[in-house]
Amino acid sequence: MVRKIKDGLILGTIYLAAFFSVVLLAGIIVYVCVKGIGSVRWSFLTTVSSVLKGTVGIAGNIVNTLYVIILTLVIVIPIGIGSAIWLNEYAGKSRSVRLVEFTTQTLAGIPSVIFGLFGMVFFGTTLGLGYSLLTGALTLTLMVLPLITRNTQEALRAVPDSYRYGAVCMGAAKWYMIRTVLLPSAMPGIVTGVILAVGRIVGESAALLFTAGSGYLLPGSGEGLFHKIMESGGTLAVQLYLSMSKAQYDTAFGIAVVLLCIVVIVNFLTGIFADKLNAALRK
């Protein structure tokens, strides 16, 4: 009897905790949306802020955000997945492997402002890339690399050995086996890593403020979009930070709503892309 009551109490507490965290999350999203939706007008999304024209808009920041997301992912995904494959499938259990694993783990715990400092000095000054979207993306690459590597590694580790043996017994070469069996099986884990990475990329301001800078202008043309890689550009999170520091809270909440939407859309697209990729890998 006492036991039953105890069980009931524990269960009740667990439910309460779960309920609380869901309510908290939903509450934040609803609050941000209610406060911010008023600012999200068409002109807010399609113009850039200009004192002369008297407009307040974040079009440039939206472009920069998408730019940084794509650029970072393009750099980090091959490196992250490649090193996970190397660590798990080729390297065995040597000392150097443990060192690399330890390094990636440590990398994940470093505060982002330190990445910002390093990125600014190394990519910006030493490599001469200045304040640019490329400098920002390279800095973010270092920051989210552990997320991709760790998640891919975990996913590869969870693939049963019987798949590996099965494929090799059919005559598959190692890389063919990895491409057609391991990577598709590991894809859900890889997608998780990418989604977490996107979350960090869009939410990051400290590491970007002094690497990608805070430029908010739109590229003039298609070619301008190409040149933009070497130009300064502030993401939505950076702009959000700047708006807050200038006490422009309406704008800040408006940006927050747009940010949330972008996260949802990008995650959705990542899932679709992974499915397509899976189908292609297996052929």
């Binding site: 798949y163 099965g166 059919m170 005559g171 598959a172 052929k283």
Partner: protein, 256 residues
């Protein structure tokens, strides 16, 4: 020695295998007849799986393995330098104890091997998929859901799917490592039936713990103990008149 009528498909000569310092196979010399079922019996840990894995060189994946002696498939040494292991594994298929279909559709599972070996044409693949599934006696059960996931099949169906997958590359030899020990009795009987039928086209080598099964499905039997092959011959003879005492004790169920 196994001789009698029929061609010799595989033979080993003084085959020794070491896992680091563990001497797992000791001087194994055996001849395995084509188009017959050969059963490997013996207590756990005596080297049956290890022996099987030398025949398709899947032991190559274990870095501590060292091999001495010869393994010949159709008189050719499969450990000779320059042997193409992909081709070897195409000729010598393998089925494991736990069914291990890939997490893909039934169709893609069967097409996996042919695709490795360069068959991309949809019509040819369709044909191979159907004939392999028919040969493995599972076509009727899966015909209508070839695009469904192989993981949703029952254990017995998964095992026959794995057999079909091995058959799809038109092997000459089929290695089966305790293929029924993870299956229920009905599925086991189905798989046994299949083995008896498969020997018409293939050379089948099956590891089994189950003495009755060895009697039911095999033509020849080899008895392993502590890494040695104690005795081999016609299944009927081994089980009726074992020459070695240890063989007799084992098949009488005195150990193992």
């Amino acid at each position: 020695m196994i001789t009698k009528t029929g061609n010799i498909k595989i033979k080993t000569e003084r085959l020794n295998l070491y896992y680091g310092n563990t001497h797992a196979l000791k001087d194994i010399t055996i001849k395995i007849r084509a188009n017959a079922v050969t059963a490997l019996i013996g207590p756990s840990g005596c080297g049956k799986s290890t022996f099987l894995k030398t025949l398709n060189r899947i032991n190559d994946l274990v870095s501590s393995v060292r091999i001495e002696g010869g393994v010949y498939l159709d008189e050719k040494d499969i450990y000779a330098p320059g042997v193409d292991v992909t081709k070897l594994r195409r000729k010598v298929g393998m089925v494991f104890q736990q069914p291990n279909p890939f997490p893909m559709s039934i169709y893609d599972n069967i097409a996996y091997g042919p695709r490795i070996h360069g068959i991309k044409d949809r019509n040819s693949l369709d044909e191979i998929v159907e004939s392999s599934l028919r040969d493995a006696g599972i076509w009727e059960e899966v015909e209508s859901r070839l695009e469904g996931s192989a993981l949703r099949l029952s254990g017995g169906q998964q095992q026959r799917l794995c057999i079909a997958r091995a058959l799809a590359v038109q092997p000459e030899v089929l290695l089966m490592d305790e293929p029924t020990s993870a299956l229920d009795p009905a599925a086991s009987l189905k798989t046994e039936e299949l083995m008896r039928w498969l020997k018409k086209k293939y050379t089948v080598i099956v590891v089994t713990h189950n003495m009755q099964q060895a009697v039911r499905v095999s033509d020849e039997t080899a008895f392993f103990l502590n890494g040695e092959m104690i005795e081999a011959g016609m299944t009927r003879e081994i089980f009726s008149y074992p020459r070695d005492r240890r063989t007799r004790d084992y098949i009488d169920g005195r150990f193992g």
